[in-house]
Symmetry: C2
Subunit: 220 residues, 2 copies
DNA sequence: GCCTGTGAATGATTTCACAGCA
DNA sequence: TGCTGTGAAATCATTCACAGGC
């Protein structure tokens, strides 16, 4: 029994979701900010993104037919389409755990709220911090995690605690029902059910170090 | 003419350098911090890193033979070895461009200096900021970029300017001789010769959004 | 003629599976 | 016996190349 028509459900590679669709969306937003463009071709996008046009067409093809042959893509429509695929037509609520230097910087990072990701609660286990106000939020104790995650309809956790605490915190978030975590702690965490994305700028510097070393001193 | 012995120069996949070696190193450092371990097997490392033991052995094999059959790896030696491969036995000097909210947070992020990456100069093009002191550095104007990069022996640039400025700034850094850049601006930049690593937490949240949407509401 | 969408071909990465050393 | 190091096999991702619609 075939499903009506072209429903060619091929497996979408993880890397398409985890890296490229968001970058395509970002490039299109950038295009729109500067004078809006009507149409855009896979060739033009490829140049903006340092990849091949075929890759872009293939990536889009997992989700349907977005373009017009001979014409390219309607930039405005494509952007809407990508936002829809990624589930960005709503606001996502987030909880921050760890209100140290890094945590505070995250609370004040404006792009999250601009992009529809709102930090609605902040937690810490330091009695000296609990009850204090930071960036319009009152810091809560870790014992209130589950309560607030349910009450405030929180879907995403942000971890900004020292590495020694991070695994524990991630387990608490999972226990409280969180299914998606942005982890700033420098560890590779183990999760039972939640999906994690890690951010560690030091790892990136270390790989830059390798390449700098490889190419040796500038002259001589 | 064969090079003496085992110099099996196979191409090392980029992903080994750009993602995994630094993570292996991070896991070993974490091991060492908690009670030091003598030996560690590829199985144990694989569990810590959520990957297969064969992958770890293959990755190490690009750089030589680190382990002892039947015994595993000497954790201490392995860590030294990785630090050497990545070029982390020295200090790297960095210049920050963009002293806004994000730039200040980067200046205050302690892990950079702890890991051997030192921010030795900060630049901005805002006259109101130039000359001010931030985190022990005096903010310089962009016109002094080249001078300071040479004088202070800077190898890595950090970009923390608004997206509209980022491409320009990256080109200035390249002109000043910088070959490695850590880019926090939400764009995909074009470079002529420098290697870039991008950091954009919003991209990660957007891909989490996709997966949250896919799995639908918790019950019902 | 231009540019998409897509099977087929190629290329890259990961896993398998096992020989061989401690 | 236990675990590494590694070719060979399997899997996964990207590019090629072109049929077909605008």
């Amino acid at each position: 029994m075939t499903r009506a028509g072209k429903n060619t459900t091929k497996k979408i590679p993880d890397i398409v979701i985890q890296e490229r669709l968001p970058k395509y969306l970002r490039a299109l937003s950038r295009l729109q900010e500067n004078g809006a463009v009507e149409g855009v071709s896979s060739d033009e996008l490829a140049k903006m993104l340092n990849c091949s046009p075929a890759l872009i067409r293939k990536d889009f093809s997992y989700f349907g037919r977005f373009g017009k042959q001979g014409r390219g893509y309607d930039a405005r429509k494509l952007l809407e389409r990508l936002r829809h695929i990624l589930g960005l037509e709503r606001q996502w609520n987030m909880a921050l755990v760890g209100v140290g230097g890094l945590g505070r910087a995250i609370l004040e990072y404006k792009r999250f709220i601009n992009q529809g990701f709102k930090i609605v609660a902040a937690f810490d286990n330091d009695p000296a911090k609990i009850g204090k106000r930071v960036a319009k939020l009152t810091v809560k104790g870790m014992n209130q995690l589950m309560e607030h995650i349910q009450k405030e309809n929180i879907q995403i956790g942000i971890v900004a605690v020292p590495p020694s605490e991070a695994q524990k915190v991630i387990e608490s978030l999972e226990k409280a029902g969180i299914k998606a975590i942005l982890n700033y702690a420098p560890i590779t965490p183990r999760t039972s059910s939640a999906l994690i994305m890690d951010i560690d700028p030091v790892l990136k510097l270390q790989s830059l170090s390798y390449f700098l070393k490889e190419m040796g001193p500038p002259n001589k």
